[in-house]
Symmetry: C2
């Protein structure tokens, strides 16, 4: 198993990806290809106290770096020798089994779609982060790879999320729910209503364990295994959750520092607070799988530290080993949908 790692992507590059990759090579028994300028990567090795590349780690030279200023749609073409483009081309050439990058999400998405291509029959790739719930974790799909949704996209997300939850979260028969503004079948916009019908059909055929609509609140407090939504709504869901987390942890910190007495109590709670943080720490998961692409690609969070990169590489290994791409490709015939003729637009009241 060989994982290709973009050594230049993310806020903490190149040191964090290089360090995470070295740890992964040591602890997970994976081989690594680091993409980036050789001198820069060798500088990192020196900083990390290594005189040379460890066994099983190699460098694929790449002289350019894609930044947030580059146009996401064409960055990989404009910078053909970037660490991201070089990495994806290596993946395409089967020189490695998966690619991990913390670079621009938009650029990675475009590059993966255009260089590696989608699985035949899959309409859109999806970003599928794993988010915490009151009783575990769930796969959110999509969280923004494609802003607009169609019932077919969402049905495909449901299948892909289900295979991913099976393999990555180890849930045998993942409960798949549709994010909506009420639990009843009639709730939501046309997109949700039509998707509900498609997922009910998939359930009847025994292909997906669809449990119905779920509201944002219950998705978090009761938890399901896969939360299906369009990229726009999924992004709102994810960012709102992150914002609420930041709000509460900020207020909690403030509270614990508010007085000497509180500080003493905080000291007593130190270990527990550490565990509490860990539970909601995205670096524990690693990254976000890009599902629907014909080879494994994992997007690490832009702010990833070495530990997060290590976990993203572990995640990429799981995705590649479990052959989730194969699961999706083998079932793509069940994911087709003929769009009905659009109904007449309603008049504005």
């Amino acid at each position: 198993m060989k994982i290709i790692v973009d050594a230049m992507g993310g806020d903490n590059a190149p040191l964090a990806p290089v360090e995470g990759a070295l740890r992964a090579a040591e602890a997970l028994g994976v081989e690594i290809i680091l993409t980036g300028p050789e001198t820069v990567i060798r500088d990192c090795l020196t900083k990390l106290g290594k005189t040379d590349l460890p066994q099983g780690v190699e460098i694929a030279p790449a002289s350019e770096v894609i930044t947030m200023e580059d146009n996401p749609a064409r960055a990989f073409k404009d910078k053909p020798d970037s660490s991201m483009t070089v990495g994806l081309n290596l993946l395409k050439a089967k020189k490695g089994d998966a690619f991990v990058s913390a670079g621009s999400t938009g650029a990675l998405l475009s590059a993966a779609t255009l260089l590696i291509k989608r699985i035949r029959g899959i309409r859109r790739a999806a970003l599928a982060p794993v988010v915490p719930t009151a009783n575990g974790k769930m796969v959110l799909i999509d969280c923004g790879a494609t802003a607009e949704g169609t019932p077919e996209y969402l049905m495909q997300f449901a299948y892909m999320g289900s295979y991913y939850a099976q393999r990555f979260l180890g849930v045998e028969n993942p409960r798949v729910a549709l994010l909506n503004i009420g639990a009843e079948e009639s709730k939501g916009l046309e997109l949700q209503k039509q998707t509900y019908a498609l997922l009910t059909e998939a359930k009847r055929a025994g292909r997906i364990h669809f449990v119905g609509n779920i509201e944002g609140r219950e998705a978090i407090t009761q938890g399901v295994d896969v939360l299906v939504t369009d990229g726009y709504t999924g992004n709102i869901f994810l960012k709102t959750m992150e914002g609420a987390a930041a709000l509460f942890s900020g207020a909690l910190k403030e509270m614990l520092l508010a007085s000497t007495k509180n500080k003493v109590a905080a000291l007593m709670l130190k270990k527990s607070i550490g565990d509490f943080k860990k539970r909601f720490d995205s670096s524990e998961v690693g990254g976000t799988a890009l599902l629907g692409i014909s080879q494994p690609v994992v997007k690490a969070h832009g702010s990833s530290n070495a530990y997060a990169f290590y976990n993203a590489i572990r995640q990429a290994k799981t995705v590649a080993e479990a052959d989730i791409v194969g699961d999706i490709a083998a079932n793509v015939e069940n994911m087709r949908w003929e769009r009905p003729k659009p109904a007449e637009k309603q008049e504005e009241g």
Copy 2:
């Protein structure tokens, strides 16, 4: 100032609304009309240690109650003698200045729209809850009164939210932002792009202090005064925030009870934890204003206790006194929009 209170709406009715109303009559100097069965309300008075109706509090008899099982769209017609219908008819007849109910949101929305009517020129009423941010509070508009959005609805929500924030939150020049999946002008679906253009126009004309697009995370961590969105997305935002709050407070509680040492620390933090909870407690705000209706209507949360009802009545008083309806009506000419001809649908790729 006379506030009409639905004595039969909400999980804790009739005792909580009656108790909250009596407190409000005493502390806020408002008169109250309680709608509901006279014997039931008098029973509550007895339970609250009152032998008779206090000065300024009266009962408007209503023999029926609208429940969650009733069809929201027609409940007020099917049950013409319900506490909600009677209350709204009193408001319509100008027997009171505002109406407060914790009954079914859908039923209240339909009943208010059809009995009281919208302000002339306003396309849709909106639910505008006040939500906590890292540095204060913001008005979220809409959070689900109307699931589907148009640029015109959202522009009107921006104006209405701005007037409401001025009067209710006391912000002189409210910062209005559009909830989106990125800060750039080009982000989002057609709805957001077109709304962005309309709000930019309103800003140029000096009518709204539009500060641009904002993501869910920054809306909470940086805060604005008015967060504009369609009802579907607003509902997802609000429920996700509630879910995250429940997740964190649950995990916090678990952590504080995890060991004897932690319990001791929790005791030391008792007062601070109380303040912490209060900061995020929706009963502090009261309820959610139903904006766009031609007379003041406030929806109290279904789980409201007496204190929440008291605050909802205080809120209704503010909305009525500040004449937010008048603000909206006086500016409705600026809130018109001619819908351009719809573009050709894009072909599926």
